[in-house]
């Protein structure tokens, strides 16, 4: 444990960028948790007199077409976007790694069927599949989560399968088997926990991707609906005004969205460095 902590400290300090990512990440988490209490204005309160006002002392990020405070909406949207991303990735991770672990451990028919499922999902351009799923199931936030979870399944299936496959014949697995544990127990209690570290990298990168996905779907009108505050939909609302010069309506939500995704990507890179410096890109 000590060695791990020392290594974490080494990576964090050696690479300022990773440290920065950790800090930003914590910032976003705080925002997601305490957003509604921090926001200066009610994100849904419209004030048509104050519509489309540029950034000022009263409204740091300006107001949108309905006079709502953009900063407040951005802060509150953090919770929604993070919520979607976390639920989608958690569901995807749970289902995908379970399926992948089974495929890697037992092989044979299980492997073939699960591989087919993953291949079929990957035969689609992923965003297009997400669109199809949300359109089919209905225009709700829950369905965005389901769609995002489904399109991320193949990644987890693949990583889990590969990691389990590598460890399947390791010494400690044989020992556990000989001690009388059933195959399933061996898989769940002995093999699987050892595959977690490499999957952490995948999870972090996926979070960024899940947020982009959700925002993209909302941008084209699928999932989140007005007047809810979500980064993607805010950019969509601001799109019409950007060409006439009211840049702040779209720019601030977009910039924050970009920053959030960037944070997760940097975090993923940093985690990768901690896990295995050889894999540095």
């Amino acid at each position: 444990m000590n060695a791990t902590l020392r290594h974490v400290k080494y990576v964090a300090t050696e690479n300022l960028v990773t440290l920065g990512a950790f800090i930003l990440f914590s910032g976003f988490v705080l925002l997601a948790l305490f957003g509604p209490w921090i926001a200066p204005y009610d994100p849904l309160a419209s004030d048509t007199l104050a519509a489309l006002k540029p950034p000022s002392a009263a409204h740091w990020f300006g107001t949108d077409s309905l006079g709502r405070d953009i900063l407040s909406r951005i802060v509150v949207a953090a919770r929604l976007d993070f919520g979607i991303a976390v639920s989608a990735v958690a569901a995807s991770f749970a289902a995908g790694s379970a399926l992948g672990a089974i495929a890697g451990f037992f092989g044979g028919w299980a492997d073939r069927i699960i591989g087919r499922i993953a291949d079929t999902i990957m035969a689609f351009p992923l965003f297009v599949l997400a669109m199809g799923i949300v359109a089919a199931l209905g225009n709700t936030v829950a369905n965005i989560v389901i769609a995002t979870a489904i399109i991320n399944l193949p990644f987890y299936i693949r990583v889990a399968r590969a990691e389990v496959n590598v460890r399947r014949n390791a010494g400690y697995v044989e020992a556990a088997r000989l001690a009388g544990n059933s195959d399933l127990r061996v898989l769940a209690l002995h093999v699987f926990p050892n595959t977690l570290p490499p999957m952490m990298v995948q999870i972090s990168l996926n979070m960024g991707w899940a947020i982009l996905n959700a925002a993209g779907l909302s941008f084209i009108g699928l999932g989140v609906r007005a007047p809810q505050a979500e980064w993607g939909i805010m950019v969509a609302e601001g799109a019409t005004y950007i060409i006439s010069g009211e840049w702040w309506v779209a720019l601030f939500p977009g910039a924050v969205l970009m920053l959030a995704v960037f944070t997760f990507n940097l975090l993923g890179d940093g985690l990768r460095d901690i896990m295995d410096p050889r894999m540095r890109t």
Partner: protein
């Protein structure tokens, strides 16, 4: 050689089947009444029943599937509610616009990312290298729709360099006579230089937006692959044989490094075809992306299904093409 191509073709069949099955399920195994979906939000009870009968939605699922496949084979994707036109016709009309946009985005991305990746690999640790790595991480963080808006804002609104981001060609021009449907190609065939320039001008911003997102993985892969190849043993042999640096870099290193990059193209196309929709919305590009967005707004369901199916089949075809191309480039493929 032919055997390799045939093998690849056969390998694509399960994917095609999978795509057809999934799109079928997406439209028939819906929560709620599929007939109501297809009849539209404004339909009366009789209209819904009519739709149910005409689409065979009261039959058992397996029978419906056969009907579905039969219709597909005929090229029948149903009719759009809002326009009344067959979906297949509308998709065929609008597809070239999307293809032109996607191809230009890809070409742009490759033209920028690959040389940069090579440069970063041949000068490890330099500022070029660090810049490339930063761009690579930043690039995959860019929300495509946001970049598009930003570029439009900066280059059209602020700087006035780019033309108005509305459509494929300025209103003062009429499109070239249709041969391929790609304006760039058609205007060249019609030998109309001015038209070519006008079409190209409209393409710059949307293609750049599309390409920006995929530049990151391409550059990262090129750099990593090139670095790996440059430290391999056959490069050392080439150097020890006194081969000139340019030959070592290009004929020896680069060609070998390209192989994993070609494999990355599959993922690149997945992003491109998906982000296409977003870019078409931002720039009002009249392709199948904006077609499906309009359909979604009016809850017109058949076009959405047609769109998903078309994009998926296109993707399968593209992956097949990449596989075959790889088989041609790498002589080691086929020894199992």
């Amino acid at each position: 050689m032919i055997r390799m191509v045939l093998k690849r073709l056969l390998g694509a069949i399960p994917n095609i089947l999978g795509v057809i099955i999934v799109t079928f399920l997406l439209t028939r195994a819906l929560p709620g009444d599929p007939a109501a979906y297809f009849a539209g939000p404004a339909a009366t009870k009789e209209a819904i029943e009519q739709v149910r009968a005409s689409l065979g939605l009261n039959k058992p699922l397996a029978h419906q599937f056969l009907l579905y496949v039969r219709d597909l084979a005929k090229g029948d994707l149903g009719n759009s509610l809002s326009t009344g036109q067959p979906v297949a016709t509308e998709i065929r009309q609008r597809l070239p616009a999307s293809i032109e946009l996607t191809l230009c985005g890809l070409l742009l991305a490759v033209a920028v990312a690959v040389p940069l990746g090579v440069l970063a690999a041949t000068r490890p640790g330099s500022w070029v290298d660090h810049l490339c790595r930063l761009l690579a991480t930043a690039g995959v963080s860019l929300p495509t729709f946001f970049t598009g808006l930003l570029l439009a804002y900066v280059f059209y609104f602020l700087l006035g360099i780019a033309p108005s981001p509305l459509g494929r060609i300025d209103v003062s021009f009429s499109p070239p006579p249709t041969v391929t449907g790609l304006f760039l190609v058609d205007s060249l065939i019609a030998r109309d230089g001015e038209l070519f320039r006008a079409a190209a001008k409209q393409l710059v911003l949307p293609a750049t937006t599309l390409g920006l997102f995929v530049m990151a993985p391409l550059m990262r892969m090129t750099r990593a692959s090139m670095l790996g190849v440059l430290s391999s043993e056959f490069i050392r042999t080439a150097r020890a044989s006194g081969l000139p640096r340019s030959k070592v870099l290009y004929a020896y290193a680069f060609r070998n490094a390209l192989l994993p990059v070609v494999t990355t193209l599959g993922m690149v196309f997945s992003f491109l075809l998906g982000s296409n929709v977003l870019v078409e919305k931002v720039f009002a590009w009249p392709g199948i992306g904006s077609y499906v967005i309009e359909a979604l707004v009016s809850s017109d369901y058949a076009p959405v299904q047609g769109f998903v199916l078309t994009m998926a089949l296109l993707y399968v075809a593209l992956n097949l093409a990449i596989d075959v191309m790889y088989g041609f480039i790498d002589p080691r493929v086929g020894i199992e």
